[in-house]
Amino acid sequence: MASEEVARDVLQRTFVKGGRYRQAVIVLAAVFLLGVVGFILKLGQDRTQWGYYAATFSYLFTVAQTAPVVSVAMRLAKNHWRRPLARASELFAVVGLFNLLLFIPLLILLPSIEGRNTIWILGVWPSRFYTPHIFDTLMLVGLVVLGLLFLWTAAVPDFAAARDQRGGQGRYAFLAMGWQGTVRQWRVQRALLGLLGGLYFMDVLTTHFLIASDFSMGLVPGWVDSIYPAFHAITGLQAAVAVTIVTMFLLRTVGGYREYLPMESFWGLSKILLALSLMWFYFWWSAFITFWYGRMPVEQNIVQLIMFGPYRPFFVTAFLFCCIFAIGLLIWNPLRKSPAALAAIATMILVGGFFDRMRLYVSSWSLATTTDHTLTTVPAAIWPQVPDLLVIAGGLAGAVLVYLLATRIVPVMSIWEMKELRLYQVPRQLVRRRMLSLGKPD
């Protein structure tokens, strides 16, 4: 397909949505409203009953707000197969706005640091809002802002294409910010993408550290686990790659973008997904073996709490889906070469990821006392009630809804990068073999 046709085709799909899109929006909006009902029903409940809500927030942060890192990292690696998936992963930054709303009740519910041994300094005013509240909020807000800026910077040339197609007026004229495609503008855009991408990546890792430490580990007396933030981040990356694959698959089959999403992109991501699944096991094992080996009572209790005790079904599901089955299936080339099989595996990983967040957050929020020195007894499991199920469904539906609505404005395929690919990818003949010549931009 020629470059001009790419722009026309992608923009057409952005502006004109079919019946299935409208149906999806209606269903998701309805489920989201049910989630709001569930939230209202939960108001007034004790903090220990809010673990499923915290798990939903953490899951959305893990999946959606880590997803743009896929684009950032692939851009740094300068490979060409990232181009079709770049925008799809960058778009997840808008879900951060929704997640920021979900964050607010957690800020209010988070217990005070008084009476706990912690690095955070007690604040003075207002009385309940000490650090970590301030730092965590700053990092999360910063992450959302950086994500949106990154998305906007990456999409500016496409907004300009939309502006030009629509006669130079309207919201795209604003979004395009006068883009003309001069050499200088392209250079500035590339530099900005590098800078914003780097900052976003660092912010994501820091926010993983803060959310994991303050909203999970810090609530459990005696749980000192230095790998936990890294585990949180790695599982986030795994989920981010998985959600990108699922999105690509849906775009290819339901969205009609088959021609833009070649096997090569799925193949490239599948290798990364396998590596991250292996790292899931590695990071989990590093924590487990350290706690298992020493036989210290507090560490044995923590292992019971988050792995083999009351939340064992959650842990086993997460372990099997995110780790054992994922690795066992992804090592097979034929499966990695099938977009449908890959999407199924990615979906399994996403499901497992949610169970993982539940076992970590529901368990840590279930403890009534946060000020003991060590964990001496493991409390019984808190199983989800109807309001919890509504909140989970509503949260996930709301996130997908926000993403879908964003695709009405932002083209889900990066037009300028697809056009650029045609410059750098040329078929060649090497004696009797057909090859592809891939240019290396400096």
Partner: protein
């Protein structure tokens, strides 16, 4: 009748590919000719069929052997001298996992190397039809045939602009 090996040497990959094409058109079977280069070319560059091999079987066999040895060592040593150390159970599974992880991979690696050497048809005591200039950039196309066909094959290889054609024992 003893087979003869006819070796043609070429300066360019295109000439070597022409030689291979000539042999294929003359009905020479794929297992009767080989292309030798001093540098790896992408598969199919000379129009040859894809390489068939069973290399993937070897790492699996090695892994199974390694895993079995590891479990025997891990469980066997613990049960043979049952002593509680550090409060850990006598038959502790996590250390067995670590030992079996290492020995499974070691078994897979060792057997992969055996497989590579075997599938590459090595070691080969005598080089047979070969020229040392192949490692200096020339491309060799060697065809094994009966004595009656030697002249025909020589002609096929010469037609593709060979710089030299040699005949030796197959």
């Amino acid at each position: 009748m003893a087979n003869q090996a006819v070796l043609g040497l070429y300066r360019t990959p295109e000439a070597a590919a022409d030689a291979v094409g000539n042999l294929q058109q003359a009905g020479v079977a794929d297992h009767d000719y080989e292309i030798m280069t001093g540098v790896p070319y992408p598969e199919g560059t000379f129009g040859e069929p894809p390489v068939r091999h069973k290399l993937y079987v070897f790492p699996f066999i090695g892994a199974i052997i390694g895993f079995t040895l590891a479990v025997v060592e891990g469980a066997g040593t613990q049960l043979a001298y049952p002593m509680v150390t550090g409060g850990k159970p006598i038959l502790s599974i996590p250390p067995i996992i670590i030992i079996s992880y290492e020995l499974t991979l070691l078994g897979a690696i060792v057997f992969t190397v055996i497989g590579i050497i075997f599938e590459s048809r090595l070691p080969r005591p005598a080089l047979g039809a070969y020229d040392t200039r192949i490692t200096e950039g020339l491309i060799g196309v060697v065809c094994t045939c009966s004595e009656e066909r030697v002249e025909e094959v020589r002609g096929l290889l010469q037609r593709a602009a060979a710089i030299e054609v040699k005949v030796g024992q197959g």
